[in-house]
């Protein structure tokens, strides 16, 4: 089952993009086994099917009954549809009573209870007296609903047998049948009720009724009492999915997350029970009493896959596909076989062919990839994230890893969905997508290689499949690779790529306002560049650019570094200070963080492939602080006292409960060295020291 956990965010800023350093933890452990669809879910979408009736009735004026009760009544009244008006009046009374039945803090008075009973009795009488044909099913349903609330369960049992079941098939008759199943339960016919709920696909009811049978022994007992029981379909599916859940929630220390399993109403199914189930399932297939050997065989196959026996699983699931069962059961066996096939090292062509089939099935469901009801899409998700990506990572095939992430982030190429791009949402830069997170971790070289790989043709069918279903934009990758080279300090490599990026592309980024309105040449330790709150800073096309600031930065850095290398004496120290200013501004903590990143967060850290610009600045300042030039020495001392040595420690202390004390403690390291040096300098040069130094409150506090 998919866990969707969103960590609590403590965002300092989301200034440029909706980029989250501490984003959602999305896992992809969807349940594979799903045989209760199709024939076993015939009464799903009850509300939608009812709403369809009202949509037709009102000529598409309304889309649902729940929200348009009054409008539908008005519509019927305007049409002088007295038959409908009469029905709606009673239906609305019933719905009102239903709403009041739940446990709330309010409680009805005696008069209200009596009135409710009178209304229900009258409703049942009116419903029973309907002699028309047009709304026969609706009135029959209302009759049973009224009886259900009055707990006249035996009346409902009799009514279904004599009247309800003889009505033509409709969504209303399905609802009546569901009430009948409930009435059977209430009148002591538990077994029949369970089978009926199973046939109707009412698995919520079954889950509750069979809550203590959800294990192998429950399956065995159910089979022994009725080998054809439809409830077995639920129990087997539940068993296999619980086995999956148990494995998914078992840590490396072999400890099962029982709290989570309990919280989602799953059951722990351990290996010993799985092994016994496999033996029992083989017995069931051999006995030939259950109509769905395909389901039992597929269950064995998935359990083999879950416990790492991938090749055996593929063989078993292939056999399952050919066995008797519903169409969905055959599909179920086939997509689990595909998932198992990755670990079984099935050939690339086979994988591509099966993925093409699965994708077509997912698309045929007619819903988007985020729809949790699209089992085929969920299996595709699990296949890619939990099988293909780890496999390619293990093989160090970075292009396929990135391609897979790209494919899963490609609404148009994969799902043919054209998403309207939110103008404040540069989706392709968001850490919410695995793709962007993957790109963030790649070096400039890897990005260049990936872009070249995406453009090349391949003889490998799976590679071709991935490329065909993945979004790609050359300019995007020129910009990103150039930016990553910049972040790595490889300015020479960045320049040719950044030169290819048009300004219009840069203006389309959420951080374009920063591009145009901040200046990396200003020393961050002297001036903080901020914008008035009234100015909109985040979003595309908020500024017109005259030049690419990243390109300008790289070119200037190349030039400065060369000059610094050659220079001597004060000139060299001046250049070191200037370089330190630029590096620090481009660092995660500078005002010009947008040069090397697409967003900013409190939790940003220097990535493994990046140069630590702040550390580089400190290194250069250690050089410039030796200068005999008063201004250079003064600014260098001040900058060294300004730049934290340990950002993580200082920032976490800053956000701590006792800000002052904890922060002071974190600052202690700096106090003893850099602040001490600055204080000593100020004491010695009190008359000459610039005001930006003397007005520093932390320095004042220190010098007290």
């Amino acid at each position: 089952m998919k866990k969707f956990m969103i960590a609590a965010l403590f965002m300092l800023s989301m200034t440029a993009t909706n980029s989250f350093a501490c984003g959602p933890e999305i896992t992809h452990n969807y349940y594979l086994f799903d045989v209760t669809a199709g024939d076993f879910k015939k009464n799903r979408n009850i509300v939608e099917r009812c709403d369809e009736f009202w949509k037709n009735y009102t000529n598409s004026t309304v889309s649902s009954y729940q929200w348009h009760q009054d409008e539908i009544m008005e519509f019927a009244q305007k049409k002088n549809d007295e038959e409908m008006v009469g029905y709606l009046a009673e239906l609305n009374k019933y719905l009102e009573i239903s709403r009041d039945l739940g446990d709330t803090w309010d409680y009805p008075t005696k008069a209200q209870l009596q009135e409710r009973q009178r209304t229900l009795l009258s409703m049942a009488t009116i419903a029973a007296s309907y002699r028309g044909t047009r709304l026969k099913a609706q009135w029959a349903l209302l009759y049973m609903r009224a009886n259900m609330v009055m707990k006249r369960h035996q009346v409902n049992v009799n009514y279904w047998k004599t009247t309800g079941k003889n009505l033509p098939p409709s969504v209303y008759r399905e609802m009546m049948e569901n009430i009948y199943a409930g009435a059977l339960l209430q009148t002591g016919h538990r077994k029949e009720a369970i089978n009926m709920f199973a046939e109707q696909g009412d698995f919520e009811s079954i889950k509750w009724l069979l809550r203590k049978q959800r294990n192998l022994q429950g399956i065995k007992n159910m089979y022994a009492s009725d080998p054809k029981s439809p409830a077995l379909v639920f129990l087997v599916e539940d068993f296999v999915n619980n086995a999956q859940e148990t494995l998914d929630d078992t840590g490396e220390d072999h400890v099962i997350d029982t709290d989570w399993i309990k919280s989602i109403n799953a059951r722990i199914i351990k290996k010993s029970e799985v092994e016994q189930f496999k033996v029992f399932a083989k017995q069931v297939i051999a006995e030939g009493k259950n109509p769905y050997p395909s389901m039992w065989k597929a269950a064995i196959g998935e359990l083999q896959y879950l416990y790492g026996n991938h090749q055996e699983a593929v063989k078993t699931l292939t056999e399952a596909m050919a066995m008797a069962g519903t169409d969905r059961m055959a599909d179920n066996a086939r997509y689990i076989r595909l998932v198992a096939g990755v670990g079984a090292n099935e050939p690339s062509a086979w994988l591509a062919e099966e993925m093409t089939w699965l994708l077509a099935k997912a698309q045929a469901e007619g819903r988007g990839r985020f729809d949790v009801d699209n089992q085929y899409a969920e299996v595709f998700d699990r296949l890619v994230y939990m099988e293909l990506i780890p496999k390619f990572k293990a093989a160090n095939n970075m292009n396929m890893v990135t391609g897979c992430y790209a494919m899963m982030n490609s609404s148009k190429e994969l799902w043919h969905i054209t998403e309207e791009e939110d103008e404040n949402w540069n989706a392709m830069y968001s850490d919410w997508s695995g793709f962007s997170a993957q790109l963030n971790e790649m070096t400039g070289n890897q990005l260049v290689a990936y872009a070249q790989w995406m453009k090349s043709s391949s003889n490998d069918p799976l590679e071709t499949f991935v490329k065909e279903h993945s979004w790609f934009d050359q300019i995007y990758f020129d910009d990103m690779a150039g930016t990553h080279y910049l972040a790595e300090g490889a300015f020479e490599k960045a320049v040719p790529l950044l030169k290819k990026v048009p300004l219009s592309f840069m203006e389309g980024q959420n951080i374009c306002y920063y591009f145009a309105n901040r200046d990396y040449t200003i020393a961050r330790w002297i001036t903080k560049q901020s914008f008035p709150e009234s100015v909109r800073t985040d979003g595309p096309h908020l500024a017109k650019l005259k030049q690419n600031p990243k390109l300008k930065f790289c070119e200037e850095m190349i030039s400065l570094k060369k000059k610094h290398e050659k220079a001597k004496g004060v000139k060299k120290e001046q250049l070191a200070l200037q370089l330190a200013r630029y590096y620090y501004q481009a660092s995660l903590w500078g005002d010009c963080w947008y040069l090397a990143h697409y967003g900013k967060s409190l939790y940003d850290e220097v990535r493994s492939h990046e140069m630590d610009f702040a550390a580089e600045a400190r290194k250069l300042l250690k050089e410039s602080v030796q200068s005999e030039d008063f201004k250079v020495r003064q600014e260098s001392l001040y900058a060294l006292a300004f730049i934290p040595k340990d950002y993580e420690k200082e920032m976490s202390a800053y956000w701590g409960i006792d800000v002052n004390e904890a922060w002071a403690s974190a600052l202690e390291g700096r106090y003893q060295t850099d602040m001490a040096a600055l204080a000593s300098f100020v004491k010695q040069n009190a008359s000459k020291t610039d005001s930006y130094v003397t007005k520093c409150d932390i320095l004042k506090f220190y010098m007290k």
Binding site: D103, T104, W105, D106, Y107, P108, T109, K110, L113, R190, K212, Q213, N215, Q217, G218, I219, K220, N221, M222
Partner: protein, 315 residues
């Protein structure tokens, strides 16, 4: 031989103990089902045993979507037997008290009074709160009780709470009365241990704290049984119906019930340490199944026990 012999013995002894000091004893019972209906057997029991109070579970309070909400409200289908006082009881799931519940006292009282009025269960002289509170939830729970106590007192209603044995060594809740639960003393999931419903080995360690417990007390004694299933030593679960659990050959279904002797021993032990706690004895609980089961007790044994007990009393 009376069908309600055990009960009669408990009550009779209870009465005899208090005849000397002039305190009026009260026979009470809990009713804990989701439907309040009294069949002829239950009505006969109430009349024959002179039950004067029924502690009726009105509803539970559970956390739903982050809010404390009523749940499993009793469906009232019976009229109250003549001369019987109904004490509304609300079971609050301890989780609800993991946060402050500033509105809960008002919501509880309003709903209890509305239910009472709707179903003619009044007048309400006492309400009872049942909660398995812990150190972690004590503050929120006690704060809520304090407010509820004040509100109830304004309407002339007393507030009582249930007290589990282990809670005797914890701070005393700010209410008028406690009902000492002399049941669920052991661990039902352990096979072959003490009797999980009532075992004196489990009770005795807590008894010293009873004497000094600074709250007027009544005591509730068990007349119920559990059917539980084990596979070897592994606890499978409770069985409310024969097919509720998937059993296989070799599984064991045990009926756990306190013996009449143990109930009497428990009653005696309370009598010894704090006699006034037996002024009001409450049976847990008088569902029709329990009353039927009481009939199946080995009455001879009960009789012997009574004989021994009576002899002991006469000394």
């Amino acid at each position: 031989m009376s069908a309600f012999f055990l009960v009669a013995v408990i009550f009779a002894i209870g009465n005899s103990c208090r005849q000397d000091d002039g305190h009026e004893a009260c026979r009470s019972a809990y009713y804990w089902s989701t439907v309040f209906e009294l069949d002829s057997q239950q009505r006969a029991f109430i009349q024959k045993q002179g039950i004067c109070k029924i502690y009726l579970r009105y509803f539970d309070v559970v956390m739903r979507d982050g809010e404390a909400m009523p749940n499993a409200t009793v469906q009232v289908s019976a009229t109250v037997p003549k001369g019987v006082e109904i004490v509304p009881v609300v079971f609050i799931v301890n989780d609800c008290m993991r946060m402050a519940q500033p509105q809960l006292d008002s919501l509880l009282l309003t709903r209890i009074l509305k239910m009472t009025e709707t179903h003619d269960l009044g007048p309400v002289k006492e309400i009872q709160i049942d909660c398995d509170w812990t150190k972690q939830t004590q503050t929120a729970y006690f704060n809520m009780l304090e407010r509820l106590h004040r509100r109830a007192a304004e309407k002339g209603i007393a507030l009582s709470v249930t007290i589990r044995l282990h809670q005797l060594s914890m701070p005393v809740p700010p209410v008028d009365k406690g009902v000492l639960m002399m049941y669920n003393t052991g661990d039902i999931t352990k096979r072959g241990g003490t009797n999980a419903i009532l075992d004196m080995k489990d009770v005795e360690p807590f008894l010293p704290a009873l004497d000094d417990y600074d709250l007027p007390l009544a005591t509730a004694y068990p007349v119920f049984a559990w059917k539980v299933a084990f596979r070897g030593q592994h606890f499978l679960g409770f069985m409310h119906a024969d097919d509720e659990l998937p059993l296989t050959t070799g599984d064991t279904v045990l009926t756990v019930a306190p013996s009449p002797e143990t109930v009497l021993k428990a009653r005696d032990a309370v009598e010894k340490v704090r006699p006034r706690a037996n002024d009001e004895m409450i049976l847990y609980e008088i569902s029709s199944q329990n009353l039927k089961r009481i009939n199946t007790y080995h009455y001879e044994k009960v009789y012997d026990c009574r004989a021994v007990h009576a002899q002991h009393d006469s000394h």
